[in-house]
Symmetry: C2
Amino acid sequence: MFKVHNFSAGPGILPADVLKQASNACVNFENLNLSLLEISHRSKNYENVMDEARSIIKDLFEVGEDYEVIYLGGGASLQFAMVPYNLLSENGTAAYLNTGVWSTKAIKEAKIIGNTNVIASSEDKNFNYIPKDYSIPSDADYLHITSNNTIFGTQIKKFPKSPIPLVCDMSSDIFSRSINANDFTLIYAGAQKNMGPAGCTMVMVKKEALGKTGRKMLSMLDYQVHIKGGSMYNTPPVFPIYVTLLTLKWLKQNGGISWIEKINQQKSNVLYNEIDRNSLFHGTTSTDDRSQMNVCFLLNKPELEVEFDKLWKDANISGIKGHRDVGGYRASLYNALPIESVNVLVEVMKYFENKFT
Amino acid sequence: MFKVHNFSAGPGILPADVLKQASNACVNFENLNLSLLEISHRSKNYENVMDEARSIIKDLFEVGEDYEVIYLGGGASLQFAMVPYNLLSENGTAAYLNTGVWSTKAIKEAKIIGNTNVIASSEDKNFNYIPKDYSIPSDADYLHITSNNTIFGTQIKKFPKSPIPLVCDMSSDIFSRSINANDFTLIYAGAQKNMGPAGCTMVMVKKEALGKTGRKMLSMLDYQVHIKGGSMYNTPPVFPIYVTLLTLKWLKQNGGISWIEKINQQKSNVLYNEIDRNSLFHGTTSTDDRSQMNVCFLLNKPELEVEFDKLWKDANISGIKGHRDVGGYRASLYNALPIESVNVLVEVMKYFENKFT
């Protein structure tokens, strides 16, 4: 059977079984003889999907009743605004760690809403490392960090011990490794990398953090409104949430985060080892901060680009062209990518080296 | 073959061909051997989808270069906030016509952003008619109306001649009948009734109306940001937009709005005629304002509810229970509902009358 090795940075690869189930639900959802796309979100069958989609997040993160989970439309970019709108008080300050394009965008939106303090940034080196030497102001309303930087291929390996509420954009590495979710006040993630398709965003938040800004709030931007409505204050993005649930069930049924963490370590080790070994490539980031999700690398001889591109395309590899801000190549190794695909890429890199050195 | 007659108020029925194509795209999109759910929204194939999804709106509405079309997440409820955020100046006033639950919600959000003037309301009679005797303040920034009221089953038959920009929530009757779209400054609609599945909202706006409020704007709430990004400022709701495009192509290929308008008239005539004729039912709304999309009716003998419910369920009719604010029954006759389904419902009503009178 024809097989594409899908290294897309996002929307990214999803498990084949999930795609098959999603396909079936489009024509006959749970034997209702109706498509999931044409039934009420208030139907019993879909209410079950929503309940399960919310509870599985808490299962996987191992958090208790003090957290709420909601699904929203609008993408993680909308959360760049909603986080300060819900957590930054009128006269308060929000602390931000700037580790890339998405952090920078989050900071831009927060500035429209209130005061910000960028406590550290790696912009000086085109975001090729994670700042570590910074202090967290104890009087700020929260600290916002980005756990993984899709574009630059860096990842926070050790989360800061924060004296203030810790908020994290985990869009590109959620559920890829063990973390202590209880250390976070708010975690959000666009679904389209490790969780599901484009079109929904998950927000998990500690209830106690909400309702404190004194701001009169627009309903759709108010986490408390969505919590109260069980993510059905208005019609939710029905199908994206369903496919997200399928993907998370796939993860859980196969062994959960401890299972996928080992595979993700293995996948990234295999690829980084080859980048380090192969005389025709080098990595773009500080070794300590290398992302297990997005592996960025450059050709040592840029004039060989056409030749290398032909080789990986011939091997049915897809989606490894680097982002324009970094250039070169980026192989995204999200949860659903099998190690076999990484092995194929490594074989191509070895063959390329043999042929051109 | 088993056939469900799907009268759901929304998410509502979609054409069977569209559902089949959507199902296929989940496993193999345009013969890429990749699912639409796992490819980049920046891929050529998807950029074509987005371009076409935007241009088909302008085709169907017969508008020119002075309009822009964008697709957003968040549902029409987010537009209740975005419309005043983008069009209501700091010291201006926005005029609203209040014809139901959704209008009321739109007004609530506008009040958080600025000054509002509700120029007429049908709340006095539980929104069972459309106010007609009102004057439009020529100094307001815009007039907001709701073309069809899903919950109460009323519809504006003749749009007001407005001296100020006319903004319309067309979520539940867009593309169901001929209108002069050039009379409107902004039209928005959640996809999940007449256009596609839940998860995306279409906004068509006259460019000249934007950028005038003086408000410093959050990026995700700024129409101009999304226009500039071609609806890809951030990752869009990929699949909902694709299915919306398929549904609009189905409409266009079958004859467009003039074709569906005749069918919709026929469907609603058949059902309203039966409600008026049948001694066991009566309609809930002012006859002049009856919606062609959502037909609300009550039993004259509420004690026969169990018997009627059994009959329509046995006929494989689905989704006709009325909204809790009105009670009784609501049959939604969206574009994709075939006249055959209406005929089955009418047969059930006739049989019910014969049996119980």
